[in-house]
Amino acid sequence: MREVAAIGVGITKWGELWKKSFRDIYVETALLALKDAGVDRVDSIYVGSMSSGLFVGQEHIAALLADYLGQAPIPSARVETACASGGLALKLGYMEVASGMSDVVLVSGIEKMTDVSGNEATYALGTAADQEYEGYHGITFPGLYALIAMAHMEKYGTTREQLAMVSVKNHKNGAKNPVAQFPFEVTVDQVLDSVMVADPLRILDCSPITDGAAAIVLYPAELARKYGKPLVKIIGLGHATDTIELAQRTDITWLNSTYLAAKSAYAMADKKPEDIDIVEVHDCFTIAEICVTEALGFVEKGKGGEAVEQGLTALDGKIPVNPSGGLKAKGHPVGASGVAQAVEIVKQLRGECCDRQVPNPRIGMTQNMGGSGASSIVHIFERE
């Protein structure tokens, strides 16, 4: 297999983009990635999108977006693993370049979630869970993570304040990210006083409804070296699944798909958790970040809450988690989030993150997750 490098990244301001259409958000973002890469044509496109059908009533978006990006008639495919759709697009783009099938591949993700009402968006997101055995009983997405949180607190003594500290940390980072939907800080008290969504999770424990896109251009590393671009290679990836229904898992506090995806990625990259300088994780809810840092091997099982309290995951901590502000502060346009995580890691490894720049990182990681953890995709990046 060929070595694969990310040679261009693009992301635009996320938020409630009332004035912008689905296709325009995508094209503006993809053009930034193409410009950054210095290319005007690509060989192939992957688009991660969880539910364009429910959010904007449009399927067959791969062809639509290739067309409006001025790239038709090249092949273009939309891929879906719920909120991990962006991570999946990156995996498939990697495989296409690594295999030699294409040289220039545009990996992208998009979701426009505010063209429907809040109720409809809640329903659309809920389709990532088991509709017949979770949704049927009125269990929502925040509800599923609340069930995980309650069990984690009971089993490991994780505190309500520790959950809040995840939100505080990510907002602190997000306040330094110009594309973030909520670029402001929050306090522990503000989190604890915010509206209850599903006990113990409050609104400031939850990632928001967001319109946004992200894009990356992949290229063979060997060719990229010729052009003298700052070279960030994808050196490992892993992808795993678990039961779609939370209740059917052996231990509902343990994200086994994340553990297994990370295990594959570490093996492929020949790296260990200690080697990772910086990581973007899927903090759709505060409890998710705590469980993910455990499953990725950065802390022991049950110690994710303590880790955030002790500042281990802060921007200046031992392992900075979510320097971009994470899904919590940056926003969570579900299909785009996995690609945006990789955009942040590439920028961090290139040293382009200004106020939120981690000093001189060399190895970065992304962890993107679908549903209540039924899909996980992990990538490891290295600056050459």
Partner: protein, 130 residues
């Protein structure tokens, strides 16, 4: 709105807790499956879930999906049944403050929601403190 066929298909599970069990390794599946996810055996036999168990975790849903707007807030939980299987559903007939992890519950047949004004009434199981 879904057709009634989608509802009828799930009646054996939702009304009567029908499950199946792998003849090779003994794992119980709810809902029933065509292939065992542990040993890949396709030899499974019908069984019925236990009707009592303990609350493993719970939450109170305060922001409901549209079908449950008239019920919110309501409690949901995952219950570990006495046969070792785990299922999710609403916890009813008690104050939220009385719900505890480890609490003993019984599985009862209840109405879950109404599928709109001219739609069918949807039934299933809920958990009641013992």
């Amino acid at each position: 709105m879904s057709t009634p066929a989608r509802y009828w298909r799930e009646i054996p599970q939702r009304y009567r807790l029908e499950a199946n069990k792998c003849k090779n390794c003994g794992k119980i599946f709810f809902p029933p499956r065509l292939i065992c996810n542990v040993c890949q055996s396709q030899e499974l036999e019908k069984t019925k879930l236990a009707e009592t168990g303990k609350v493993l975790t719970y939450t109170i849903i305060r922001v409901p999906p549209h079908r449950f707007v008239d019920q919110a807030p309501y409690a949901v939980g995952i219950v570990a049944l006495d046969d070792g299987t785990k299922i999710a559903g609403q916890i009813v007939d008690c104050d939220f403050g009385d719900i505890k992890i480890g609490m003993n519950v019984r599985v009862e047949f209840r109405k879950i929601y109404e599928m709109g004004e001219s739609g069918i009434l949807c039934y299933g199981y809920k958990f009641v403190p013992q």
